[in-house]
Symmetry: D3
Subunit: 301 residues, 6 copies
Amino acid sequence: MTDKIEATILANIQRLSQALEEEKKMITSTDGAFPSVEGLKEVIRFANNIFFPDLFDKRRNGCEIRSFYIGVAVEKLYSTLSKEIARALMFGTEIREEEAFRRGKELAAAFIDTMPEIKRLLYTDVQAMYQNDPAVDNCGEVILCYPVVRAMVHYRVAHSLFKLNIPVLPRILTELAHSATGIDIHPGAEIGEFFAIDHGTGVVIGETCIIGHHVTLYQGVTLGAKNFTLDSNGHPINVPRHPILEDYVTVYSNASVLGRITVGRGSIIGGNVWLTNSVPAESRILQRKPMATTFIDGLGI
Amino acid sequence: MTDKIEATILANIQRLSQALEEEKKMITSTDGAFPSVEGLKEVIRFANNIFFPDLFDKRRNGCEIRSFYIGVAVEKLYSTLSKEIARALMFGTEIREEEAFRRGKELAAAFIDTMPEIKRLLYTDVQAMYQNDPAVDNCGEVILCYPVVRAMVHYRVAHSLFKLNIPVLPRILTELAHSATGIDIHPGAEIGEFFAIDHGTGVVIGETCIIGHHVTLYQGVTLGAKNFTLDSNGHPINVPRHPILEDYVTVYSNASVLGRITVGRGSIIGGNVWLTNSVPAESRILQRKPMATTFIDGLGI
Amino acid sequence: MTDKIEATILANIQRLSQALEEEKKMITSTDGAFPSVEGLKEVIRFANNIFFPDLFDKRRNGCEIRSFYIGVAVEKLYSTLSKEIARALMFGTEIREEEAFRRGKELAAAFIDTMPEIKRLLYTDVQAMYQNDPAVDNCGEVILCYPVVRAMVHYRVAHSLFKLNIPVLPRILTELAHSATGIDIHPGAEIGEFFAIDHGTGVVIGETCIIGHHVTLYQGVTLGAKNFTLDSNGHPINVPRHPILEDYVTVYSNASVLGRITVGRGSIIGGNVWLTNSVPAESRILQRKPMATTFIDGLGI
Amino acid sequence: MTDKIEATILANIQRLSQALEEEKKMITSTDGAFPSVEGLKEVIRFANNIFFPDLFDKRRNGCEIRSFYIGVAVEKLYSTLSKEIARALMFGTEIREEEAFRRGKELAAAFIDTMPEIKRLLYTDVQAMYQNDPAVDNCGEVILCYPVVRAMVHYRVAHSLFKLNIPVLPRILTELAHSATGIDIHPGAEIGEFFAIDHGTGVVIGETCIIGHHVTLYQGVTLGAKNFTLDSNGHPINVPRHPILEDYVTVYSNASVLGRITVGRGSIIGGNVWLTNSVPAESRILQRKPMATTFIDGLGI
Amino acid sequence: MTDKIEATILANIQRLSQALEEEKKMITSTDGAFPSVEGLKEVIRFANNIFFPDLFDKRRNGCEIRSFYIGVAVEKLYSTLSKEIARALMFGTEIREEEAFRRGKELAAAFIDTMPEIKRLLYTDVQAMYQNDPAVDNCGEVILCYPVVRAMVHYRVAHSLFKLNIPVLPRILTELAHSATGIDIHPGAEIGEFFAIDHGTGVVIGETCIIGHHVTLYQGVTLGAKNFTLDSNGHPINVPRHPILEDYVTVYSNASVLGRITVGRGSIIGGNVWLTNSVPAESRILQRKPMATTFIDGLGI
Amino acid sequence: MTDKIEATILANIQRLSQALEEEKKMITSTDGAFPSVEGLKEVIRFANNIFFPDLFDKRRNGCEIRSFYIGVAVEKLYSTLSKEIARALMFGTEIREEEAFRRGKELAAAFIDTMPEIKRLLYTDVQAMYQNDPAVDNCGEVILCYPVVRAMVHYRVAHSLFKLNIPVLPRILTELAHSATGIDIHPGAEIGEFFAIDHGTGVVIGETCIIGHHVTLYQGVTLGAKNFTLDSNGHPINVPRHPILEDYVTVYSNASVLGRITVGRGSIIGGNVWLTNSVPAESRILQRKPMATTFIDGLGI
């Protein structure tokens, strides 16, 4: 390291060590506690061991021993999750450390109380994917391979934490799935049984969506907001602003369904369609035909 | 842990330990053997060392020693892959363990017999990307950086295993690439030489696609099915249902090409187009123009 | 291993050990040095510790000790980055090893000199996301959860290296973010302050884009080229070919904006629109309405 | 690498690849299976979790959940140990793979059947150390810190495997403890309850030793053979050749007790003594006094 | 797993899950907190970085940056050690969790206050070894290679914690060094400047030893107790019972020096000697000569 | 962290950041390069794969592939060792970096040239242990379990490096074995074929020892110096000062053989003996008998 380089580095360390005004304002937390992404990955790992014990934990051999494995997985999930909840409470809200840890334990137990129902729902999702796909031979293959299963495990766990009013963690969980699958489901959305997404990359499901049973989406579908309601400071308000999809609706690839509209039971929305008004039950909505041309101007590279 | 929390946890362990009816039915395997995602990641690591020895294994120094490295990589790939194939056979089919391991070894060797051809094809793909991109300086950069190369290594390996009728593994392999790149190529698709995908996020290539030589796709392109043929139980049948793209076809971003149609040699399909009928050679297909407006209703957030 | 299998394996080792003609030609480097993806991941890890010290490095406890942590992180970044730059120089260009390491050190110091400005810009991006999103409670949540922050850290670091004419590394950095977020920003693009992308999967921003301040994009937006200018050998030339977005422009989901056009200050481009010509300030551009139909032909699966 | 260096390396690879005559003869195993040191370390880790659940597995919280943890640890120990036994059988004896794995499972279960007794004995050893040591405050400290506890866990597990006639593994286990503690107990030795070794470095206890209850040894003590009985080929024969120590015997530091002699109940053998004949109960044996001198010849550096 | 094996395993899980009476009594701790060996290994790693920054942390480049590295290492040591002290307090004594953590922080800071003196002493030990050994070329080699340096770092750190009345941790620290080096120094012993041990395996230094400056020991030396003083229950009492070695004493290999005796300044104790009474300054003590014989009875194998 | 604690920590960081005078003087190295213990552990790992390919590398399956594995192991050993030698040269001597790396490569190749001979010698050592031990069934067990094999691999590699005048590394290698086995062999010692050490803890073999063929040692044996020759500054001189053991000598446990004496061919030295003068061929040397006593004064605890 030459003297000139050392001088440059030392000068910048000084500049970088001074907190920006924005930096000082915006992050506050009781005693420097932050939720840990690693911790949440562990929570999902334990949850997978519990929901799909034959697939994700190979050491099970017999019935009774299986329950020991599940017992250990539940206890470890409890222990990791209660810590992460405590940190999330201290990160997002004013709370004493002791109180945060006490609440973390209660809320982790409350979450565990919802796990049997989450498991039941996940198996309906697996069945939905299995029935939709002509190529699949085996439900185990769906669980092992399909991105939608990963997305739904994360979403259904995150949604349960969201309903318990736990801050920050639900969003981190769904963003982990978003990164791995390209499927972005807000933890606040309500999704019924037998939900299927094929391929999935680019799917976005907004915070106030309500989705019925037996709904199927394809890649690139947006269930989004049409526009924002602003408060007097021009800051957007969190009101119902995403679509309602009734039972047995199907939305094909890259379609956008926008605003607090209702897509009636059994409707089919075609690919690349851009829909901003409600449609009655059993509707069929299609994009207009493209045109053929001899000169092509603008390729969309 | 308070008594109330402990009681909640114990009650739920009991409930979660009881296998659901669906769970019992749907996953069956000879003696609890499941393919391992970690094992398949190793297979790809060894394959990369073999296909691109200068880039992925830096310890090579001279010509003869290079062959030792490749020898070891091939032997390790054989050993890991034969085990994974055996597990996949036991997972997807009724087979005795011993027979599965014997078949696993034969099929792994059969796969290795296709590796020189896979390597040849991959270098045509690298060249295609290199020739398409004005920014790239260096083929090594393509191999190191471009998601399409990762997607094609996974796909071409998976396709070879698919043609050997090995269950489950091909799909796990392409889903690993899908997760990392957003490019979802079904291992059953047939793809010719000099294949290029730019950017790639959201590309979907269906199981029965047939793609010629020198074809280029851009991000968000779907080569999908128009609709399903159902059997008498309403379950979709696995028949040819995805497009045929002849040599020198280009499809621009977010276009959807659907159904068992043929896109003639040298055709160009414009961005965001939604095409469901065959077009002759040298076609040029464009989306209709958007409209300008002063009032905007529905933003697609 | 049977004799037949061993013979197959040995024969293929021999075939795979012979370098292809293309292989020999295309990868050249001074003494087998290649940039390391692991090294660049470390650089980003150190950069995150420096930009967001409270979030990514929990061991800080007081003001002065914080500067020690930042000092160490800067020095480690310097040491790792200077090696990676040296390798990139030897990979992409003819240069002696000693010279490469000397230049690597200078360029790493020059990069560190830009880090305070990168940090300032990143905090404007965080604020932009915070102001756009009705759901978010807390800027720290934006930094922890939102894919756009990860994408922008990678892009702003890569862009700074790009402007220092460092080869290969900028592209590897943005592809790492592309893989994790589905957001593909070319390191050559120019992007102003307070930049926001919501959801983000499928966004593509081309090499010669120029983007003003306070611009917002949604998922699936392409800012691409309309067509290529070819040189006399038919190879595309690297000229300005991507759009200019002036300040306060918003582009909604899956829209494609193509070619060296200008989108005027304060314009809004609607979802799924495909735009290939310049529009004046405050424009509102919308897709044509879809049609309802009773027969649906082509679902875009 | 210069040409000369490459030639040297290649020539030596050739020489090193040719198996020596001794090499070919001496190692034989069914299909290349060898016991794995890593596997045995896992076995000990699981055993510690089972014997000292409060100390080595911190996640236990309540009584019932504790049994889940122990259940999982026992099942994992079974699964790892049965594989290692199968490999040891194939390594040391002529046996078919299938038979080896079947026997491995039976023997692992037979070992587990001895674990409650091993646990009981280990707690007597802990108590013995606790009562001997004026400095120790707390039995947990003995378990956490004292090398003798590690040595005795390894020995008592190894001795149980030894009595089940399992080859190779017992010796690997005691050598692992030997390396970590300097205490070398042959797995064939018989050792009673309440056994203590203080400091321990250099202690050697031979294969045919018989040690009663409440025996205490200090560092450097050898309980060895006086001489060997040779067979007609001059190879030593495995006959009783190490001492018998009756109950309540104490042997102080660096003493050597040699041959098939009996040290009577309650005897004390002083430090640095070299004893080769039996002594009656309650004996007191001491080294002769050293001499003072003005000239020192030979320092024993 | 056959039914019979499963039954065996389940029965033993039940038996192993029942805590022994001894087990219940002997380990008590506030809320299951135990000191962590991994944590203490980290403390030593940080301490080595602080004491020998040039050798154990290679990333230092210049003077000011060196102080950043030391600052970070000290802060990490503080943070890890304060947690381990808190756990040790809860393990060994009745104390509330909050109080334990508060005390842990105070005591960790008090320890850091002794580190400059520990560093000074360690460099005198390194010099002593360097001056004793005809083979060594370089003090850095002593620090990198010699087991005594490892033993003394552990001992001097442990002794400082011992004097702060911190339970359990000092002993774990010296046992870690004992395992790695065969040198067993009780943390309670008092050892002066310029202390050297050559080879070291088997050295034992008891709790109440007092050792002056410039003392040198060789392998296998015991500085032990002659006998115990028992209390009315027959439990040994912790009184001064180990030797005092004045300045410039040397003790050669395998000698035992026992009881609360004084070895006068400048004395030399020969190899294999067994000494139980005080000797004046400048003494020379030797073992009696061995005898030659034609018949050898007892080999000490 | 309270203000008082923070002040303490900051003050000590300042004190600890100032290099001691001794510290500044004693460690010098070209550009901060130090040999790496991790690197040397890798060298030994590769060496074990080369010497015992069937035992330490389980992936070998057939004859030709075995040579690939050995080829790769030799090349990796070359690459790691040449770097470590370069660092050792820069650590111990004044040398330019470039020159150090050039010499490192030459010396690593020169070392590889000695590996076939080292391998031959190691197999004689294994046979010697096998013939000495009545308990062992299988030479593979000797290689897997016996500490002497580990010690001899380290020693024979270190001795070869020592004869090539490579500084520092030989000593680090033998200290690694010393720590793991308690056997301390100086890399300068000369040791013949068929060398055996049983148990081994506490064995010390000095730098200028010369040991013939078929020599056997037991635990605790010291082959040491009787006294030092000092130079005019009182610093000890490195002259021949350790014993010569002729062929077929055996030395039993805890014996000390000291000074430049010769133990004649075929001699047996009994346990605990302390020998400082030469003995003729076929000598038998024994310790004097201990005495029995009723009062025991000094137990050597």
